[in-house]
Amino acid sequence: MRIVIGQGSCGIAAGAEKVRKALLNTNINAEAISITGCIGMCYLEPIVDIYDDEGKLTRLVKVSENDAEAIASFVESGDASAVEKLVVSDEDSEFLSKQTRIALRNCGIINPEKIDAYVEAGGYTALKKALCDMSAEDVIEVIKTSGLAGRGGAGFPTWFKWNAARQSEGDEKYLICNADEGDPGAFMDRAVIESDPHNLIEGMLIGAYAIGAKHAVVYVRAEYPLAIKRLKNAIKQATEKGIIGENIFGSGFSCDFTIKAGAGAFVCGEETALIESLEGHRGMPRLKPPFPAQSGFWRKPSNINNVETFANVSWIINNGGEAFAAMGTEGSKGTKVFAVTGKVKRSGLVEIPMGKTLKDVIFDIGGGMKTDKPFKAVQMGGPSGGCIPAELIDTVIDYKALGATGAIMGSGGMVVMDESTCMVGMAKFFLDFTAKESCGKCIHCRIGTKRMLEMLERITKGEGKEGDIELLEELCYSIKDGALCGLGQTAPNPVLTTIKYFRDEYEAHIKEKRCPAGECSDLIEYKIVADKCKGCTLCARNCPVNAISGTVKNPHVINTEKCIKCGKCYTSCKFGAIVKE
């Protein structure tokens, strides 16, 4: 009997640690209680997996510390009725069963703090195979066959970068992992490091061997303390076992391993800015060329891939490039992890083969919309990506097909929106993010994103004017063309795609001073429909500025001059008596 508690950051935030402590206080044998990382079912956290002695799994979800005794009783008696209401539904189980997991294969299953758990799951066999049985060129060839492309966003062929770094002259080379995951709503890299750190280490060591690097560096954002802690622990364990260090597996290949915590600037996810930051400078992109493969960290040949890319490598070495390439489409191979969030019913991490459709992710796996409002659009790729409208829901997950919509595959952020989301407001949200995260180096990004944001702010306040859409478009194309790095070049995407697919919404804001989604507070008024109001006084009691007046059992009235449009009345009314106009 094993009791495994999901303790990724998300699980802990949902109360998993409290559950663990509560379980330790029951009569369950403490030895049987262990932890794992993140299974990816965010909406069901905290999750407790109970394996019986035959290995049969009973998964309990949305567990609280108050359920500890019931769980203890189930563990003791095997009688599931005590925990019946906690057992995951068949429907929710489909969230996982419909996925194909490679990068996430160990996540939420093994104990991320124990190297033995990883080894037991087949860990480090690929590294041994690569170091002892394959030449560096062979490794690159396998990666080439697999069709693995960079999962950080740009989708550049991994083998090509590895080969370029390998070909670059110099005996001092660096293999760098970009774990500066910064897109709002993306958390797959954090999940991998927290849940399966050795998989990352193994992938990186194979990469280091392939390019001929003796130094591996992980650049991870400081906002991921648990990831850093588990990765440090994993490095220590691997070093103790001789997997990191000199003459690994007796192969003659040596590689050290360091972690650098980044101070949380989004732009440091851009590879040249990342290198600047690693060197102790202000995180600002360098001009390319020269590319890092030629002149990177300390001006030495360097290769940078993101976490998810490395997380696929050991599987590919073990299973062969062909097995990986068998999944996906002509131009996009293997699987991709998405962080599905927003108005979707089941939010969390979804790994599926390329070639599936957005509908498969959002409806089949994600379960569709959370509310009764219809699906409107999905934002792919965070602030660098674009929105894809409902009519393109059958778009195939493939670099090219997604790019054709104006969005990008990106690192895998997928924010699902329903009809209550204002698309101008959405574009404004992402622009606000990029404008704040711009490093300030190039004109187009530093000033251009700010000016775009100001225009969007004006539009959502009802101060837009004729010609604003065209001016926005002109500025967007110019920024794409003129910005120095990927941050700036892609910053206009949310604006361009929302104009492309929801131009009428922009026009409604500008010409009619109206927000069709009813989200822009400057363009709406809350009103109470007298016929529907029961005079329950709930809205009046919730109003933070006392803008609602009325007596018990009589219709209430909102003083629109006092109202700050916070929407508390609207969400609190049980009778649908409050409307936005």
Binding site: R282, P289, G440, K441, I443, R446, I447, G448, L484
Partner: protein, 733 residues
């Protein structure tokens, strides 16, 4: 060597060259603002982008290397659009004035801040030369100009505007008192220009065209040159001796002045055209406008300028004891004050609005009142009533102020049935003046009956004939308007004589948003006006009313200047790039990234609101000097250049080497002048050498009008010498 094509031109470049290097060596211009050979390539400004065939992205030419057979276009539509937007964005966040508002508001773009500043420093000679770049008759204009410059002067937001016009007269008077400055004339071009009309416009055009080397003759119908300055401005405001001296200086440049010849009588435009390479028509507007009021043709009713001219010529008409002047402009003031001086006992000024709306200069209005003039505000003549054909009284309609009109002034409306009658012996109508259209019938006129001339090229319906001043387009205006046109027209004619067409429109410049300027830290200092003759003395004669500034007064007044314009205007790289592209930063108007700031030490001044974040200062301090005294602070739009921990520069390890200032492409970092009052000046830079510890070391020396303004370290030795600017200057041979 690598062979490539840039803009269709075959170019060879050494292996490893960037496109920028290859283009520059081939004499092809590519703008840059963040590039300098002294530091590593940075790529921030993005202005150096070019297009290369077969490469989908724009390339930053500062970093992109040349490759064999490459076909580069540095001026494609896409490239220009990218640069244009970059500059529009950059300027939308550049909170600075290139030039001061006084200069911008002067129709002749006289460098008011420049000469005011030079006067404050006691550099009267340099001030006069600067004025003469734009105004050929400064002693005269300084006396009579209604000074639009002062209306724009920001000092009025503290208390009162700088007395700019009187300072100009002061500098010009100083010049007239000694060896007057006569500008050097360029070698003769052999081109002949005829100018019809010797007023401020004609004389100005003649002056500048002559300096450019052309042979110029001015034809004028009056006995003497000067036009309205002579025949329209009373002696007490502009003594004709002053005008005579200034015209004599113009004549010294070689201009031929021919008087007593009249267009249409002695010659035609065509006849002059036949004998000259170009003709400028600057005949002015010499006819008084009519009010279309019954009784205007009565004896004793005079036109304003006709009256003034008659007095000046010594033929003053009999105006009697009671005189009414109709109008509220400066001609009305000249007429009423002249009438007082002629001995009239009751002089009325009839004006349909109130004192506040009067277009005349406030000082004139006050001085006239001191001299005994009686204002009849909110009245309008209904009729001039006569006996035996001679005017005896005026019936006035009483008015009141209604809603504001298009000009923003409240419109006067009649008070129904309310009239007033005043007995008069004569009436002077000072309500405007017009061109005598018949004189210029050879040219196409506009609907107002004025010469139709292009506002930027000054061309007319006859090729090679240009027209300026009161006779053109909107008609009569103030002298400085005509002078501004004459100056620009001279350049246009010069271009025409070289077979080119010159657009004289003022290119883009950066202006601060007036509403954001804070004056709270300014100490209040009253405006100084020159002393004047007492009212009871001056109203009896035609002596000049103003006694002019004393040196002390002039210096003190000039010192009040707020120094609005940028000191680096003349060498601002940012502005020169901005002016190359047809930009409109207003499209992107929005928040400014930094507050207008001021930080200075003994040598260097910093103003981060003008900073364009090219990083040259930060990089040169780090890469060349190895000091890192300044760095970048903050992110995104709010990124700022700042010394570490935002300390004042003097508390950092800054050694005042001045390299950052030297590389700053705009006025964010400036090196102070060797002057008490800082003035934007078009200095001349030369590289010179000094000996430091037995070694030759290079310094950059800037001079203006012969005076050393700046000595800037220019190599490793001088930068690291620790010598102050004064010590470096002392070492100059």
């Amino acid at each position: 060597m690598i062979n490539l094509t840039i803009n269709g031109k075959a170019v060879q470049a050494p292996e490893g060259s960037t496109i920028l290097e290859a283009a520059r060596s081939a004499g092809i211009y590519i703008p840059t603002l963040c590039y300098d050979k002294a530091v590593e390539i940075y790529g921030a400004c993005g202005l150096c982008v070019v297009e290369a065939e077969g490469i989908p992205k724009l390339l930053r030419s500062c970093s992109a290397k040349c490759s064999e057979g490459m076909v580069v276009n540095t001026e494609s539509e896409r490239v220009v659009q990218s640069r244009k937007i970059a500059m529009e964005l950059l300027m939308s966040a550049h909170d600075g004035d290139c030039v001061a508002p006084c200069q911008l508001n002067c129709p002749a773009r006289t460098d008011c801040q420049g000469y005011v500043g030079l006067i404050a420093n006691g550099e009267y000679d340099a001030a006069l030369k600067l004025i003469k770049n734009k105004i050929a008759l400064p002693a005269s204009i300084g006396r009579v100009c209604p000074h639009p410059c002062e209306k724009a002067c920001r000092r009025q937001n503290v208390e009162e505007p700088i007395n700019i016009a009187q300072l100009k007269a002061f500098a010009a008077d100083m010049d007239l008192k000694s060896d007057s400055y006569v500008p050097e004339v360029m070698p003769a071009t052999g081109k002949k220009v005829a100018i019809i009309g010797g007023g401020p416009a004609g004389l100005t055009a003649a002056f500048y065209l002559t300096i450019m080397g052309h042979s110029v003759t001015v034809y004028d119908m009056m006995e003497k040159m000067g036009g309205m300055l002579r025949y329209g401005i009373p002696q007490y405001r502009l003594p004709k001796e002053v005008l005579d001296k200034e015209i004599a200086i113009i004549e010294k440049t070689g201009v031929k002045l021919v008087n007593n010849v009249k267009l249409g009588v002695d010659f035609t435009i065509e006849s002059l055209k036949a004998e000259n390479d170009a003709v400028i028509v600057a005949v002015g507007a010499w006819k008084s406008s009519s009010m279309r009021t019954p009784g205007e043709d009565l004896e004793g009713v005079y036109g304003g300028i006709d009256f003034l001219r008659a007095v000046i010529k010594g033929n003053a008409p009999e105006i009697g004891e009671k005189v009414a002047i109709c109008g509220g402009g400066n001609t009305a003031m000249d007429a009423c004050r002249t009438a007082v001086r002629l001995g009239a006992k009751e002089v009325y000024v009839v004006y349909r609005r109130t004192r506040n709306e009067m277009p005349a200069d406030k000082l004139e209005i006050d001085e006239a009142e001191e001299e005994g003039v009686i204002y009849k505000f909110l009245t309008n003549p209904l009729s001039f009533n006569g006996e035996d054909g001679k005017v005896k009284s005026i019936t006035l309609q009483v008015m009141e102020l209604g809603e504001p009109d298009a000009s923003g002034r409240r419109r006067p409306v009649p008070v129904e049935g309310k009239t007033e009658e005043i007995p008069v012996d004569s009436v002077i109508l000072a309500i405007g003046q017009k061109l005598v259209s018949d004189d210029v019938k050879e040219l196409e006129l506009n609907e107002r009956g004025n010469i139709a001339a292009d506002q930027d090229f000054f061309t007319t319906s006859i090729e090679g004939v240009f027209a300026i001043g009161d006779a053109t387009n909107r008609g009569a205006s103030i002298a400085i308007e005509a002078i501004g046109e004459a100056d620009r027209c001279a350049k246009a004619v010069d271009a025409y004589l070289n077979g080119q067409a010159l657009d004289t429109r003022v290119p883009y410049i950066s202006k601060r948003d007036e509403s954001t300027i804070d004056y709270s830290d300014r100490e209040k200092k009253s405006r100084i006006n020159p002393k004047v003759l007492p009212a009871d003395v001056r109203n009896k004669n035609f002596d000049e009313v103003s006694l002019g500034f004393t040196e002390e007064e002039a210096k003190a007044e000039a010192d009040r200047c707020l120094e609005c314009g940028c000191r680096e205007y003349y060498k601002c790289k940012l502005l020169s790039v901005a002016q190359r592209y047809d930009i409109n930063p207003e499209r992107f108007k929005g928040e400014m990234p930094q507050k207008y700031s001021h930080d200075e030490n003994a040598f260097i001044e910093r103003n981060t609101s003008k900073c364009i974040l090219c990083g040259l200062c930060v990089r040169s301090c780090r890469e060349v000097m190895n000091l890192s005294s300044i760095g970048l602070l903050g992110r995104g739009f709010k990124t700022d250049v700042s010394p570490a921990f935002s300390l004042p520069l003097d508390e950092t390890n800054c050694n005042n080497c001045g390299l950052c200032v030297q590389l700053c492409p705009t006025g964010s970092l400036t090196e102070k002048f060797n002057l008490k009052k800082q003035v934007p000046l078009d200095e001349e830079y030369t590289e010179e050498f000094v000996e430091i510890d037995g070694k030759q070391s290079s310094v950059l020396v800037s001079r203006y009008n012969g005076k050393i303004l700046r000595v800037i370290p220019n190599d490793e030795i001088s930068r690291n010498s620790g010598l102050s600017r004064a010590e470096l200057q002392a070492k100059l041979k």
